[in-house]
């Protein structure tokens, strides 16, 4: 099932967030939603995750428990270590504890937080926090993955590595949607959606998006 929006409009507290937008996000692919700050990208994810209800028009809604969803700027839980957060990502999955422990260590290694796994998340840098949340997201076994600015505080090298991981997830058959104001995962994406002040300026494959950029400069 593709994720779709049809004449979707949204206003919050009197200001217009999304203006009558229509688009389709193909399944089993990596889509990046790009746009300046305040263009309505995060709200769009919230509509899909059924966290915002008062919109007009139609949109595909998926209960958030069926999505791996990372909202933007997560509050750090006060009492959890990095290892525990990653471990909680396996919650509800049918595997024994030993396997979960092994998988969690593996994920922490991939995301580069294995050396600080025993630290409380409150005490690490913003980049390390994002790496932890990324590992937490990877731990979840869901077919739809929606990440809101997951790489904004990660260094260039990390951005490349994580984009590759996202690419891999799409190749495995997952539907991955990433929101990013500066297009961190652009190169790895199949599909681009460009939002500007709530308007849909572009949707289509990456190759066409590059043309679109050339014409609009």
């Amino acid at each position: 099932m593709n994720m779709e929006a049809n004449n979707l409009s949204l206003s919050l507290n009197g200001s217009v967030i999304l203006r009558n937008i229509t688009f389709t996000i193909p399944v089993e692919s990596l889509t990046t939603i790009i746009g300046p700050n305040g263009s309505g990208k995060s709200s769009l994810l919230k509509v899909f995750a059924d966290e915002i209800q008062n919109y007009t028009g139609q949109a595909t809604k998926i209960p958030v428990k069926n999505i791996t969803y990372l909202p933007q700027s997560l509050d750090s839980p006060p009492f959890l270590t990095i290892y525990e957060i990653v471990f909680l990502g396996f919650n509800g999955q049918k595997m024994n504890k030993k396997t979960k422990v092994q998988c969690a260590s593996h994920l922490m290694e991939i995301c580069g937080v294995d050396s600080i796994s025993a630290k409380n998340i409150v005490d690490v840098s913003e980049g390390e926090k994002q790496r932890t949340w990324f590992a937490f997201a990877l731990a979840q076994e869901k077919n739809i993955i929606m990440l809101d600015e997951p790489l904004s505080n990660i260094d260039e090298q990390g951005k490349k590595a994580f984009s590759k991981i996202l690419r891999g997830l799409a190749d495995e058959g997952k539907t991955v949607i990433v929101v990013s104001h500066d297009g961190d995962s652009l190169e790895a994406s199949d599909h681009i959606i460009y939002l500007d002040e709530g308007n849909l300026s572009f949707q289509g494959p990456v190759s066409e998006y590059k043309q679109f950029l050339l014409h609009n400069k």
Partner: protein, 326 residues
């Protein structure tokens, strides 16, 4: 963390509690020799020392252990539910709900038997804790905002309680016992009541410990992991109400035990919610019984409210935590 390490840590806490309990049993203003007290525990005699040991000292030991445990567990649960490291059931007015109910009875405005008073005091705290739980579910509520509102709520409940005491012209020592915290009126009924509520709440907390850990991730992530944060918080805050209410019924307002115990437990047992639940309960018990020995013996035969001792330890700890808060 190795199993032996955990066992050793639990054993240490138990040993401290037992030493404090022995202090509570063998010392006091009556100057009964230890040999006499030991004989009484094995044989039955009906004299003054027998009454002091069986009806005063032993129930007091039991009640202080139970009440401390209640506060330690309540503190853990309130910090989990509010995601605030400054959470404390008595500081946030949950114990204060119970104080108002007890003041209504002391002032003669309400009348109730022992059992009805126990239930009423617990229910009054339950109301405050559930209200506070609803506030947390409000999206605009940051942990710091909530802590400030909680402290305000706590001050209001104590003010109302004190006003009711003044209105009823109640003997001031009774007010001091309730607001300052005291185990002087301990009896076997209050021990059994606290034993029951504490066992029930520990049992439920241990079953739900995974859910409790998940709600500290925040509401959206909880839902995404399939845990309903509002219902889970409602449940944990209800347990806080029951625990704080029963602790106030048996010992009045004993401040900061709930705030400090989970932090000490985290230092000792790491971050596993399962061990923090058990650890904080034990630390609460140890803190309460140790503070009570100080309260009884420091200026013997004059007793000072046990809440003063716990505040002397707890308030600086809170300030330290506030400094470290980001």
């Amino acid at each position: 963390m190795s199993r032996i390490g955990v066992t050793a840590k639990y054993s240490c806490l138990l040993i401290v509690s037992v030493i404090m309990a022995l202090l509570g049993l063998f010392t006091g203003p009556s100057n009964a020799p230890p040999s006499e007290i030991l004989k009484l525990l094995t044989e039955d005699h009906s004299n003054v020392i027998h009454t002091i040991v069986w009806d005063i000292r032993l129930p007091r030991i039991g009640v202080s252990l139970m009440a401390g445990g209640c506060l330690g567990l309540a503190g853990t649960l309130i910090q989990i539910s509010t995601r605030s490291p400054l959470g404390d059931p008595n500081l946030f007015g949950i114990g204060g709900g119970s104080v108002i109910f007890m003041a209504l009875i002391a002032a003669g405005i309400l009348s109730a038997g022992t059992f009805a008073t126990m239930l009423g005091a617990t229910a009054a705290s339950l109301i405050v804790s559930v209200l506070l739980g609803l506030l947390v579910s409000n999206k605009e509520m940051s942990p710091i905002k909530l802590a400030i509102i909680g402290i305000g709520l706590g001050a209001i409940t104590i003010a109302i309680g004190t006003a009711l005491f003044a209105y009823g012209r109640v003997f001031p020592s009774q007010l001091l016992g309730l607001i300052g915290g005291s185990f002087t009126t301990s009896n076997w009924n209050s021990f059994l009541f606290c034993l029951f509520t504490l066992s029930l709440c520990i049992f439920i907390s241990l079953i739900l410990n995974n859910r409790f850990q998940i709600i500290t991730l925040g509401d959206v992530l909880s839902r995404s992991l399939g845990v309903n944060p509002v219902a889970t918080r409602f449940l944990s805050m209800s347990l806080v109400g029951i625990l704080a209410g029963s602790a106030v019924y048996v010992g009045g307002i004993i401040g900061f035990v709930g705030l400090v115990s989970p932090h000490i437990a985290r230092r000792i047992f790491g971050h596993s919610t399962f061990h923090i639940i058990i650890g904080a309960t034990l630390i609460g018990s140890t803190m309460a019984i140790a503070s009570d020995q100080l309260a009884r013996l420091l200026f013997s035969p004059i007793e000072i409210p046990v809440g003063l001792i716990t505040t002397l330890v707890g308030a600086p700890t809170m300030m330290y935590l506030a400094f470290r808060l980001r």
